[in-house]
Symmetry: none
């Protein structure tokens, strides 16, 4: 079974926006055993879109379009689909009712331009969009299928997950494909690959191992294909466990879980709390921890202390320490740990201070030098990392390194499964 | 002049890697007045690549391929180009010499697999790659051109900038294209479209307006094409100014600037400082502000106060206020402003408290209810937002709304241009 992804929008072709939708869609389809043959961006021109729809359907059974469904003039996907299918647009009352409701909740009135969103090609099966105004649509075209989705990633994902993927699975039951993902933090791809060399060489033909690195975390994904579903799952389970054992000291979970949610689960289970004291990461660790629903159960707060005064006043870092060793020092992050545990009345703390760049580096402490500490009332562990890519990556990488250290401390002290 | 971008690689079609190369290439070509008609991903299959080359060249004068030039088995772009052109591969001594040099510098010896990289299709004009082992290539195909580049973004960019773009400019002196982007925050796409309806209807044929929304911010992009460059730029400048006036109360800048960097510029210019007091956004506003290089000039710190105790202790919110009105209340965010200005010794403050969900909602304060305040020692402005998508979007949206409010307060008090 093949799919063709067709993102619509000039913004893609002039390079203003990167098409992350196609990546996400391809991954989901792949999990259903649907091959993506092409992703193919097309601009906001009626004839081009109509032509691309035809080309896509000549190449694949499933055509997934994103974008061009909004209320403005450059949103012309619906007209293109209608013309391709040779049907008219009709006014969909239910969509109009929903849009008015959304506006009412915001204390506003839906205007004329919102009505444009309610004209849909005849034959459309509506795919509910509960997170935005533009509905998704499903069209049967002979034995083939056209799916049209909004370009806003959150809305596209919602409709895919809740509506389109289940329908596709029903419509095109495929050859079984299955995956197991083991999540690791604190080791690089090369280090893991060395540990897993024998394991990988001994994998059966039908199973592949992929390394998916992202800023200090690596997902190890085993993918298997073919045969009957039951034995495919059995062998994947056994191989995933085997692999997990080999790299166990870096593993923090399975599937799509994040390190911050793994940390949250352990803290909740043990009724423990956490807080962060951040300098160079500027709140990113705190943001990651609180991005998990229900994190208020275990997250008490953070102090982001950029200025020296803030470090002294709120984290009780000694002025002497700052003078003698500087803010980017093991001594400073150690004091930040005691400071944050007291300030936020927390059981566990993360502290971090470094030079994210591009400015601020010195000969002894070049850009990228970052000190991290994680601690409880029993123990504080520190580590210096020192690699410099650019500010955004340094911040992201340091945040993940800090969370990996926190995970290891929790493993040691609380022994999560 | 049209270009067709053809990224090669299974990793794109299974959704493992997002194709950022095409975005970057499209932006560069666009600046040269070359239209990108399609970006079209193809997997690592010989016949598919050959077919895609033919399709691309039927649609555009310039075909730019990325990926598939490495030393491993799945890197088959060169063979596909050779077969498409009907030529043989030859061993390129100069590339082999370069690869051996690179290995020697690393204290290693280049192996057999590296030799594979040195077989190039006949007729290739070499595009030097000084940052990696795989050279770029340029092929003339009648009046058309095929450019093949490595998939590693840094290598691709190097070769494009140093070699391919100058050659393209020489080869195809093009029709001018230009853009003006006006950045807005605080208004939705529909609201802006209503304000800009007349303006948009009166735009000349050669100029298009596109709305690019993202969580409470909308970029308004005017694109113009054709004619002579000088008059094209003149009309775009005039139309952009006209548009800016119509939606002026939402405008925070031009081009690719972020709201947080616009805020930073004004603060730096006036030697003012900022701090945030965050509850539901958990540090995201702080992270955004500190993602800007040099933000330590004006950002002093933040207090992320999830727990009631943290709000009382560090932000001096009165226990009475929390009891009587709750943490998600105008009264609370007002007190958080005075609290954070004092705690972090800042001139400007942002405070935020709300229910990001999915849990924690009540009948009076459903999930999505978020109070925001922005203030200085002269003035505090508050606003309640109340829309619920999901936790991540609520947090992102609220952070942007808070930054938009901050921008408006700065406009009022500091009058940035």
């Amino acid at each position: 079974m093949n799919a063709f992804i067709l993102p619509v929008g000039d913004e893609l072709l002039i390079g203003q926006v990167t098409d992350t939708n196609s990546t996400w869609i391809a991954r989901q389809l792949n999990l259903l055993g649907i091959n993506v043959r092409h992703a193919f961006s097309v601009g906001d021109t009626h004839e081009e879109i109509v032509k691309a729809i035809g080309y896509g359907l000549s190449q694949a059974e499933i055509l997934i379009m994103t974008g061009g469904l909004g209320p403005t003039k450059d949103d012309i996907t619906k007209k293109a689909i209608a013309d391709f299918l040779g049907v008219e647009l009709f006014f969909h009352e239910e969509t109009w009712r929903k849009i008015r409701q959304i506006y009412e909740r915001l204390g506003k009135t839906a205007g004329e331009s919102s009505r444009i969103q309610c004209f849909l090609p005849q034959g459309a099966k509506i795919l509910n969009n509960d997170v935005g105004t533009a509905p998704g649509m499903w069209f049967n075209y002979g034995q083939k299928v056209i799916i049209s989705l909004p370009g806003v990633p959150s809305e596209m994902k919602y409709i895919m997950e809740m509506e389109a993927l289940p329908l596709l699975q029903e419509h095109f039951p495929g050859e079984p494909i299955a995956h197991r993902t083991v999540l690791t933090a604190g080791a690089g791809e090369t280090e893991l690959a060395a540990l897993l060399e024998d394991f990988e060489n001994n994998l059966p033909e039908s199973i592949k191992l992929a390394y998916l690195p992202a800023y200090g975390q690596v997902r190890l994904r085993l993918s298997g294909k073919g045969g009957d579903e039951k034995s495919l799952n059995a062998i994947l389970d056994s191989k995933a466990s085997e692999m997990e054992k080999i790299v166990s000291r870096f593993v923090f979970g399975r599937g799509e879980k994040s390190l911050e949610s793994a940390i949250g689960e352990v803290l909740r289970e043990h009724k423990m709390t956490i807080a962060t004291a951040e300098s160079c990461t500027g709140g990113l660790i705190s943001h990651k921890l609180t991005s998990i629903p229900g994190s208020s159960d275990y997250f008490t707060g953070s102090i982001i202390a950029y200025a020296y005064e803030a470090k002294i006043k709120h984290l009780k870092v000694k002025p002497d320490t700052l003078e003698q060793f500087g803010a980017v020092s093991e001594e400073c992050v150690r004091e930040m740990i005691s400071g944050i545990l007291a300030a936020m009345d927390a059981d566990y703390g993360i502290s971090i201070s470094g030079i994210a760049g591009p400015g601020g580096g010195t000969e002894n402490k070049p850009v990228g030098t970052i000190w991290i500490a994680v601690g409880s009332k029993y123990k504080t562990v520190t580590r210096k990392i020192g690699f410099n890519r650019n500010r955004a990556i340094n911040i992201e990488y340091a945040s993940n390194a800090a969370l990996a250290m926190m995970w290891n401390l929790l493993k040691e002290e609380l022994r999560p499964k």
